[in-house]
Symmetry: C2
Subunit: 281 residues, 2 copies
């Protein structure tokens, strides 16, 4: 059931890590596609891909399983291009951090026998490029798949088996539910990290300690990739931001009035919500 | 020049780490004071203190160097109590995360020959208690001392030498400047981490990844200690929060209008400000 010929479109950190992880589960021919010739060369040098293809269509003609790890604002177009070029029976899936726009653009527009399900591995790093690719990146991580009423169930099962073979756990949810949840658990935190880092005057750099550094680590991510994510999911992110603003307003009022009991209660709520989350720095 | 008899008031993570670090620089008799009998017993068991004293005055009568590592809202009162009990020539300093209120409460109110300078090691953890004490906690960390016009210069030099002997770097600034800076680099981040953790619905716990976890790590800190810090420094924190709000508003407008160029510019600003900060998770 594993891919015979896997095409990875976008051989950066995620695509590169998939390639390295797939190497460990046996013999799979891996094709790489990337607009960035250097990225492609690096992926070949590291043994992540066997062959570099000139474009998505060229890879799609050869592959039976295509994984799109490219920026979220390019995935739908690439999926449709691959769908036109590939053989019936080919399975298409992606790793984009937002799902609704991609799934909506693809659903019902692929040729007969070509199937797609959206996916998102909750794994990554502020690091970019296959230099940092890690075959263990998906071990024990959650991959969310976002089938709709139109999605072929066998495709979901195959993509689930694919991720499980790399050590991940898989959960299915709707694209809308995915985007609403990730707005709060991933996109809002990213925005906050960036906002906090962005207001630090250079002369205070020396007065930061581990708290500030941990909180802003993800601010040092690719601005183009993240602009695309924030814009693709802006309505749910603005809602999450409004919820966050409400909590900030509670802190602000309590501080302004010197209300220790409320400040303590707010901090305790944060403590209690954080405690079940393992890990972090 | 090192202390002969060091009293540590508050033997939690910071006080305990000082005790362990002082053990390495030679023979110093260390007295411990803590309202929490268990904390005191643990500090003796771990060899952090040689003797437990019943109260600040009892320790002050024996010590030539007293370090207050207690919650910020208790330090000034303890310093004044120690000042009354100790011998002339005794040096008093602290590790509180806010400085202006403490220094203002102490300046000019100590008996002749008893001197105090405020201090704040930029080191710590969300962990609490001397269980987590680490003699290397201050290695290469910055300690800010906050002398005023009234502060004895020899006291500043002795306290500086003390921290340097534990591996720290020392910088002097005014209490006001310290509090303004730390509002932005430490207290605001703490409030944001707590606010973010506090709005996470329990059912989304599984959908958090390392970004959310790193950003909220410090939310799992002692709510009483941090209530005291946030309230002691509330005016500068409210100012820092207003600055942060301004940046959030820029993000909000750009997202609402789909202004990719501005979103990209804001993310780039965060990136560029974060890059010089080493470390983090």
């Amino acid at each position: 059931m594993k891919p015979r010929v896997l095409a990875i479109v976008g051989v950066g950190l995620i695509g590169g890590s998939v390639g390295l992880a797939v190497r460990r589960i046996g013999s799979v021919r891996i094709l790489g596609v990337d607009r960035d010739a250097d990225a492609l060369r690096l992926a070949r040098q590291r043994g992540i891909v066997d062959e570099a293809c000139a474009d998505v269509a060229a890879a799609a003609r050869l592959a039976d399983f295509i994984l799109f790890c490219s920026p979220v604002d390019t995935i739908a177009e690439q999926v449709l291009a691959a769908g036109t070029a590939c053989q019936p029976g080919t399975i298409l899936t992606d790793t984009g951090s937002t799902k609704e726009a991609i799934v909506r653009a693809v659903d019902g527009r692929l040729p007969a026998g070509v199937t797609f399900v959206g996916g998102h591995p909750l794994a990554g790093s502020e690091k970019q490029g296959s230099d940092f690719a890690d075959p263990e990146l998906f071990r024990n991580r959650l991959v969310v798949l976002t089938p709709t009423a139109a999605t072929d169930q066998m495709t979901v099962a195959r993509v689930q088996a694919f991720w499980e073979s790399l050590g991940a756990r898989v959960r299915c949810t709707s694209p809308q539910e995915h985007d609403r949840s990730l707005a709060l658990t991933s996109h809002l935190p990213h925005l906050l990290a960036s906002a906090l880092a962005g207001i630090l005057p250079a002369e205070l750099t020396d007065l930061t300690a581990t708290g500030f550094r941990d909180m802003t680590r993800i601010a040092d991510s690719d601005a183009a990739l993240w602009s695309a994510i924030l814009l693709a999911n802006r309505a749910p992110i603005l809602k999450a931001l409004a919820k966050f603003d409400g909590r900030l307003q509670e802190f602000r009022s309590a501080l302004a009035s010197g209300d220790r009991k409320t400040v303590h209660a707010l901090l305790t709520a944060g403590c209690e919500a954080r405690r079940p989350l393992q890990g972090g720095a």
